[in-house]
Amino acid sequence: MATAAASVSRRSGSGPARWWRALRVAYWLGWQIETNWTDPLLFFIYSLAKPLGGVLILVFMYFVVARGGQGPLLGFFVVGTALWPFVLRGMMGTAWGLISDREHWRTLRYIYSAPIPFRAYLIGRSLAQATSAIAPALITLLFGRYVLGVPLHLETIDGWYAAAAMLLGIAGIVALGLAVVSAAMLISGEAWRMPEGVGAALYLVSGAIFPVTTLPGWLHPVAQVFPLTWWLEAMRRGLLGADTVKSFPWAGAGQVLLYQVLVTLSWIVLASLAFGVAERRARQLGILDQESAY
């Protein structure tokens, strides 16, 4: 018994190794939950239908007003709609992951009491959800390029800039996801709807489908607080070039990336603190695995 225990202890490793293993396994689990409810073809159609439907709504709204003309706002719509599924799945999906583990599968207490870092588990689930947004994003961008004639040309795309913005964007989405999970841990009755409410509010203020400059002035500082706003702005500049419609016309491309780094880092720290506080509070109140019998 002692030998077996020592073997398990050695295998469990410590620090980064444990984190990495928990993250990897949670990622695999998240991917299975996300994808194995149907056959690959229906999953592919499901993955594409929502973002393509979303972009086509905006395209028809655009053509109804512009009467067939083309302009830079079309590119703005396409990039915003292509990237939004990362937010839907990465941020809201993380919260729904926790809530479904708690309320639907009723496995949260077992996962929480397992010898794994709980944050690594949640981040792994979040990254699995975000991965499922890659195909719809790519196909929406290709649709924009080849069907709508959006200027997404290889020679004008700033690959390094866009890649850096994308990595930071995913980090920001995961941080936002942890913040939403922190709130979800402390509430039960309306927990299913809360992530959706946060997502809808962010859709409105973060320049997802229209420039932040269109919002009333008092909402501009609110928009700047969220990493998503800077991420979408940076991605548009990286993919569409300098001629794109801008949410922050006063900022250069370098400034936008710098602000994205600062805001994202702030959110990582804040979300980490909020998660720690929420986790302790939920345990103190005994509501970590409380079911609301939805």
Partner: protein, 286 residues
């Protein structure tokens, strides 16, 4: 012991036992009660049911503002937002309801009650409609107030007729979907999700459906909201709205859709219930 067991039996014998239409109506009223009264007791649901469609509506209003569109397009979007509340209700609280009931253990109870499942669905529709009407009215009032939009109905009687026939057709479609969803487990959640943006697009929630092209719009007219939105917009915006068909044609088509969906719902419900029983999926939670 004998006395103790005889008392509940006697109380049970005194329970009123309705038959026929009276039983259907009482069962429907019973099922609609939690939707009309119970839902409003959970304040957070009231908040989310109103605020979520409103936030989406505001986002699309700002899209038209960014495009420099005329004011009537803002009216289009506010109407689309109110319609979204009905569509969400039909998909999540009608079509997918049996999925939730399966999770909660209520579906088995519905299957064994003496009234049958049709009055249950009728009550769900009635309660869902009344609760959603309140939310849709709030969305229209708040949206019109925030963006200073004025709606002038040219023919109120016809407007109410279109709305009424469209609601019957829409909830008929909801019952048809509910029977389909009876067979599904985890797929139910995803399928309800799948019917969001593509339907908003196909029915022209945020733009005149004629923009899809005449035949494409005719093709999507089997969704009752396509014709309903077009007819209501004609009555609100007059000649400025690019109509798909004359209003009375759309009323007639909506009436035909209502009859068709009610018949289809009845057939599908029997068929799917049989299949779900045969394949043992009625009480299969996961």
């Amino acid at each position: 012991m004998i006395g103790a067991s005889a008392a509940p039996a006697a109380a049970g014998a005194r329970l009123p036992r309705d038959h026929g239409l009276r039983r259907v109506l009482r069962a429907a009223a019973g099922r609609s009660y939690p939707r009309i009264i119970g839902q409003n007791r959970e304040r957070s649901w009231l908040f989310y049911d109103t605020v979520l469609p409103l936030l989406g509506t505001i986002a699309f209003v700002f899209v038209y503002k960014a495009l420099g569109a005329p004011d009537r397009f803002i009216g289009y979007v506010i109407m689309g937002g109110a319609t979204t509340a009905f569509w969400l209700n039909v998909m999540w609280n009608m079509a997918a309801q049996f999925y939730w009931d399966k999770q909660g253990g209520n579906l088995e109870l519905y299957m064994v009650v003496p009234c049958g499942i049709t009055p249950i669905l009728l009550g769900m529709s009635l309660g869902g409609f009344l609760a959603t009407l309140l939310r849709a009215a709030v969305i229209v009032l708040l949206g019109a107030w925030m963006f200073d939009v004025r709606f002038a109905v040219s023919d109120l009687g016809l407007f109410l007729l279109v709305f009424g026939v469209a609601i019957v057709a829409l909830y008929g479609l909801g019952v048809t979907f509910a029977s389909l969803f009876l067979l599904w487990g985890r797929e139910a959640w995803h399928m309800a999700e799948l019917f969001m943006e593509p339907v908003f697009l196909a029915s022209g929630f945020y733009f005149p459906v004629r923009a899809l092209g005449f035949w494409a719009a005719m093709g999507t007219s089997f969704i009752p909201l396509t014709l309903a939105l077009d007819a209501l917009r004609q009555l609100l915006f007059g000649a400025a709205h690019p109509a798909l068909l004359p209003v009375w044609w759309e009323v007639a088509a909506l009436g035909a859709l209502a009859v068709m969906f009610i018949i289809l719902a009845r057939f599908m419900l029997r068929r799917m219930e049989y299949l779900a029983r045969r394949e043992g999926r009625l009480s299969l939670r996961f």
